[in-house]
Symmetry: C3
Subunit: 127 residues, 3 copies
Amino acid sequence: MIKELQVNSGNRNELIDVTSQVAEVAKGVLDGVITLFVPHTTAAITINEGADPDVKTDILRKLSELIPKNDGYEHAEGNSDSHLKSSLFGPSLQVIVENGRLVLGTWQSIYFCEFDGPRNRKLIIKY
Amino acid sequence: MIKELQVNSGNRNELIDVTSQVAEVAKGVLDGVITLFVPHTTAAITINEGADPDVKTDILRKLSELIPKNDGYEHAEGNSDSHLKSSLFGPSLQVIVENGRLVLGTWQSIYFCEFDGPRNRKLIIKY
Amino acid sequence: MIKELQVNSGNRNELIDVTSQVAEVAKGVLDGVITLFVPHTTAAITINEGADPDVKTDILRKLSELIPKNDGYEHAEGNSDSHLKSSLFGPSLQVIVENGRLVLGTWQSIYFCEFDGPRNRKLIIKY
């Protein structure tokens, strides 16, 4: 089965917590592995700390410092930084499900990574 | 089932579009998830824009600027940069298949990432 | 089936070879794909060269040079570098199994990546 989530971002760079939406889908899976897939080339999917919002701030700030928006890129759309970030974080992720519940560590949240927003995005869940 | 694709690179750093070969394998899969796996330690697999070739140029140039070929590395083979790039982009990727077709976004292409070419490489597809 | 491996690190940054433990689990799988999942937000999983230990040294040194421990981060725990490294290398990985054996390239080893040790960690294997 395939489910498409709508994810709307409000900033150019943003980590959007989608854990509860993915957990909702997991309820219908007894045991197995869910595949999360981002059908965009300037966005990604990752897992990181969900407790302190400063972690998100630090991750996005340092990443943009390493890969600045303007840096003599040839691609005319002005988002080559977004494309590189997308490949570094990656478009797909696997999450394990046990008895209808996501197998995540205590501090883990699933984040849709927006690197060229604000935009209306999709996250595809295969279960 | 397992299929091995032959991928031959022509440069030290190169993103090689393998979407059509993977799509060919997907035709034999009704619905499911395909695993792409790179059995090398100086290459990787990613998904990014397939329309404007400048995106590939920018990604490879910026990545090499962050991780230069020569940087006081201890590994005597002179390809520690390639090894780090390989882990950053990653050796495996999952692609969803629906009715024998790859579920990809409009702008997405699948790229074999050469980081220490030119070499003859393999891409393993498990379906 | 799910198996939890115990992984204990001895340094702040460390790549710990877990290939033999994963291969042991693979013996019980005829053919398929194993999912490796790290339930931590300052650790990751990757595949890289297992032959020359200098490769591990170079990877960890260069990565820490790009993402220093102290860099004006807001997160008060002092491990924002670890969180970013964790997302760059990634929390999950797929490995193919054929006839009970891991399908790995000649030089490939599977590494648990510690980025905020020393700690007692877990690696979850779904097979």
